[in-house]
């Protein structure tokens, strides 16, 4: 489908909804071409391909809000849920979040979101898989596993206020995990709007390098350590924090910012985290949100101060404020994240640590309490003990078990080199450096 077809489809559904009797409608139609190669044991475990369209429908009647998510076989599928929901309109109460859909404003279109070379790779991703495998196997590793995911997305938003918006973009994410010897493993990731074979090769080499260097691990005692967190690890934790900056997370009791206001100090003054929808290097860049509000880059945390709660028009009205261009009809969310780099080289960061651990990857971050931010996460892949400013040896798995506010407040230094990361545990594309955090609690199994 192309621009006109998608907008036409959106308009048809708006008409259908209004004819059914709804007061307002916003229709988001997305058409996605996606190709994914999954690697395991240094060969493809499966290659996947999708070409589909998704339709999201927002309708209101007498200030009641209804949402339909469809992956429809045809438009006829719509009739039944629309009728059923209309039947509910008199019985459901007014939503406390209701505000009228915004009047369409001017959108500053983002340029450079489509990489024409992506279309060749969508048809044949072999070269990218080969490049990744070859780069990793230049090191002394046994095998790799990973994913290369490529997409072309067209999205069209049509609202009953007369808003009509269209945008298309390409993107990719890749991550590779390399294994070497009995206990060596490393992982790295890359992502972008444009396919970057060099970035894929570099990420594959990083994974392989860490796999080799982490062979022959020693045990490490639990306790308080200074931690150097790789972009994968800090990315995972800062994704969590950024989602907590959504007004909806706060409203639902799922946020450390429940008792905080913009202007409050929430982190070390060294830390600045931005929501960056207009940063076109990262693959979720977009010029408009799901309500048709134009996007802009904004700090969530600036020099340690909470600057922005992320809003759509509904949460903004409820909390008192303006939309930040982050809709989600219900859940406002960050688009891309950028952590401002510091001025340390990697070696200088290590040099700052007397007794610490370099953690290169983690997963399974879970919280005991979102309001207090009590969490733990377990490392995977390479980690290294640091003593007196030098990496001394690879060590066995540990957990970071602390409070998110401590983690944010104890950020002491950031690297000057940044990396674009997106994988299973870093769902929001994030550009960030290695980060030094002081005095964080580390636990491990003692039984």
């Amino acid at each position: 489908m192309a621009r006109e077809e998608l907008l036409g489809l959106g308009s048809k559904i708006v008409e259908k909804a209004l004819k059914e009797g709804f007061d307002e409608a916003a229709i988001l139609v997305r058409r996605v071409d996606e190709t994914m190669v999954k690697l395991a044991n240094s060969q493809p475990s499966v290659t996947q391909k999708w070409s589909e369209y998704y339709v999201s429908i927002y309708v209101t009647k007498n200030k009641r809000i209804f949402i339909i998510e469809l992956r429809p076989r045809d438009l006829g599928v719509l009739d039944k849920p629309l009728k059923e929901l209309f039947g509910y309109a008199s019985r459901v109460e007014e939503s406390m979040f209701y505000v009228p859909l915004p009047e369409p404003g001017k959108i500053e279109k983002l340029e450079g979101l489509v990489d024409k070379y992506m279309f060749d790779y969508l048809e044949n991703p072999l070269r990218l898989a080969e490049a990744s495998l070859e780069a990793a196997h230049r090191e002394n590793i046994d095998y790799v596993a990973g994913t290369i995911d490529l997409w072309y997305v067209e999205k069209a938003l049509v609202t009953s206020k007369g808003g009509e918006f269209y945008e298309d973009s390409t993107g990719y994410q890749m991550y590779l995990r390399a294994f070497s010897g009995e206990d060596g493993s490393g992982q790295w990731s890359a992502c972008g709007t444009r396919v970057d074979v060099k970035a894929i090769e570099e990420a594959s080499s990083m994974a392989a390098k860490y796999a080799v260097e982490s062979r022959g691990r020693a045990s490490v005692e639990p306790g308080k350590y200074d931690l150097i967190l790789s972009p994968l690890v800090f990315g995972n934790l800062i994704n969590l924090v950024a989602r907590m900056a959504s007004a909806f997370s706060i409203f639902m009791g799922m946020s450390i910012f429940m008792k905080k206001m913009p202007g409050d100090k929430v982190a070390s003054e060294k830390l600045t985290v931005k929501d960056a929808p207009r940063y076109t290097e990262l693959p979720y860049a977009t010029s408009f949100d799901d309500e048709g509000i134009g996007t802009w880059d904004k700090p969530i945390i600036e020099k340690g101060v909470l600057k922005t709660i992320l809003h759509n028009t509904k949460t903004a009205a409820k909390f008192g404020g303006k939309s930040t261009g982050n809709a989600g009809w219900i859940y406002p969310h960050p688009w891309n994240l950028v952590v401002e780099p510091g001025d340390y080289s990697f070696d200088e960061l290590i040099g700052e640590v007397k007794r610490g651990i370099l953690v290169t990857n983690n997963w399974y971050t879970r919280l005991q309490n979102y309001v207090e931010g009590i969490f733990s996460t377990i490392s995977r892949d390479a980690l290294f003990l640091i003593k007196d400013g030098e990496i001394v040896k690879p060590v066995e798995k540990i957990r970071i078990a602390d409070k998110l506010p401590n983690l944010l407040n104890n950020v002491e230094g950031l690297g000057k080199e940044t990396y674009n990361i997106k994988w299973w545990e870093v769902g929001i594309p994030t550009k960030l450096p290695y980060v030094l955090v002081r005095g964080i609690n580390v636990s491990k199994h003692m039984l």
């Binding site: 429809p72 991703p125 009590i374």
Partner: protein
């Protein structure tokens, strides 16, 4: 007829050079009512409907999906995936082959006792409001800041056909409720509980779950924990692990490491590998009490099915048996490598997802102790009944569970609450420390994540309360 399209897809894929072809019509529909503090914020509907197609070309696996259901779209999708799979087959070293199986030709359906239509939307909204009215009045010295409730009724319909002769049509309705509550006190801070309830069937589960009774009781307990809980003991103690945590533990440290695709490295970059290696059947993992079963065929279960998405008939799998690693979860690919039969663990979340090895309903086999008998000879110990925080490493060896509702045990009796006790233990230590299991089997609902793109599938996990001897608990920050 959608069946015609499925058979067409298989025939066309075979004509185009696929050695194996499988087509699955898969429809998931759901309705959600979402509230906060008794106020409905919105009502949502979701319809996902399409056909997932899997092919083996030159010994390489390819998967594609369409949601426009006509022959032209299917032909185009098959042409593309066959070409793409052929390209990638150049990198293939170990060709994909499937085990020989007796595949199902069957149709089955879960018939709810109370279909979703039995209650009106007004009744369902009333449930949210009444629950808030009852529960919000419970706290005396604390405040219930948030009670979020998500009510979901869903229906999953599938028709699986493949070029080896399978035809399995199924229809499974499910009811799910999620809630999150936050209780706070100006000086004592806050306590949070998130829980998922789920089962296959209909509204009869409302009567079973009795949230009107259980949730007020729970909130009363959480208030006491917030106000009175003390630090857990630091010395070695006996610990009784409640069935909710036992269920989670068996899911994480038996079910996942027993997935044969993980053992073979297929998920190494995502869900990880397994401490279980290919030649470890029969190795000791725990005491004689350590028997863990995964059974898709439990009536009413959240993870219920009778045939998997490769058409293989389902049965109970004894993953650990009397302390030994006994059997893994297989699909037809891993079964071929192991030289065994598939035990029907292949599941796909929706039409756009490939079938992969999944758990269904995993549980620790009950023993014969009453709860009183489990604690009667404990002089000094802890009973961990529920949890919030947990995690486990990617080989499923080192795990951590932080108790939410947890009690001190003194001289065989429960005495007050302990705050956030931490059980941080290896898989072998856990199963080797069990010296008694309760007789009451309880199940809990979860959505298990695996795969790329990630797939969440409904599962139950459960067990009885179990007793561990000589455990040193940690303390949360």
């Amino acid at each position: 007829m959608v069946e015609d399209l499925l058979f067409y897809a298989i025939d066309y894929a075979r004509e185009r050079g696929a050695n194996y072809a499988e087509a699955r019509y898969h429809k998931n529909i759901s309705e959600t009512i979402f509230s906060r503090n008794g106020m409905v914020l919105g009502v949502g509907k979701e319809v996902k409907e399409g056909i997932g197609i899997r092919v083996v070309v030159n010994g390489t696996l390819g998967f594609t999906a369409v949601n426009k259901l006509d022959r032209e779209t299917i032909r185009d999708a098959i042409d593309k995936i066959i070409v793409q799979t052929r390209y990638l087959s150049k990198l293939m070293k170990d060709k994909i082959e499937f085990s020989e199986e007796r595949l199902g030709r069957a149709r089955y359906e879960v018939v709810p006792r109370k279909p979703f239509e039995r209650y009106s939307i007004d009744d369902k909204i009333k449930f949210h409001k009444e629950l808030w009215n009852i529960v919000s009045k419970v706290p005396r010295e604390t405040r219930l800041n948030v009670l979020m409730i998500q009510y979901i009724e869903s229906l999953e319909e599938k028709i699986v056909v493949n070029s080896d002769g399978a035809y399995v049509a199924s229809r499974i309705p499910r009811l799910s409720i999620y809630y999150n509550l936050v209780l706070s006190h100006p000086q004592k801070g806050s306590i949070q509980r998130w829980e998922q309830l789920g089962a296959s069937g209909g509204l009869e589960w409302f009567d079973e779950w009795k949230l009107y009774e259980t949730l007020p009781r729970d909130v009363e307990t959480y208030e006491k924990i917030l106000l009175t809980a003390i630090e857990p003991p630091r010395d070695k103690v006996d610990v009784v692990i409640g069935s909710e945590i036992v269920g989670l533990i068996v899911h994480e440290s038996c079910g996942h490491p027993s997935e044969a695709d993980r053992i073979l490295g297929r998920e190494a970059a995502q869900a990880g590998k397994s401490f279980i290696k290919k030649d470890m059947i029969g190795e000791k993992i725990g005491t004689e009490y350590a028997t863990v079963i995964d059974d898709p065929t439990i009536p009413g279960s959240y993870g219920f099915y009778l045939y998997d998405d490769e058409g293989v008939p389902a049965r109970a799998r004894y993953l650990y048996k009397e302390g030994l690693i006994n059997e893994h979860l297989h699909n037809r690919w891993t079964a071929k490598i192991y030289g065994v039969n598939s035990n029907a663990a292949a599941r796909a979340m929706d039409y756009r997802s490939e079938p992969i090895i999944r758990m269904a309903n995993t549980y620790f086999k009950p023993g014969d102790y009453s709860f009183e008998e489990l604690i009667e000879d404990i002089r000094h110990g802890v009973y961990m009944k529920s949890y919030m925080e947990w995690n486990i490493d990617d080989e499923r060896w080192s795990q951590r569970y932080v108790g939410l509702e947890a009690y001190l045990i003194e001289n065989g009796e429960l005495k007050g609450f302990v705050r956030n006790p931490v059980l941080e233990i290896t898989t072998k230590s856990f199963y080797s420390s069990i010296d008694a299991a309760g007789k009451e089997l309880r199940f809990y609902a979860g959505t298990c994540g695996k795969g790329e793109p990630a797939q969440g599938v409904p599962v139950w996990f459960g067990g009885p309360d179990v007793r561990l001897r000589n455990i040193r608990l940690g303390v949360s920050v």
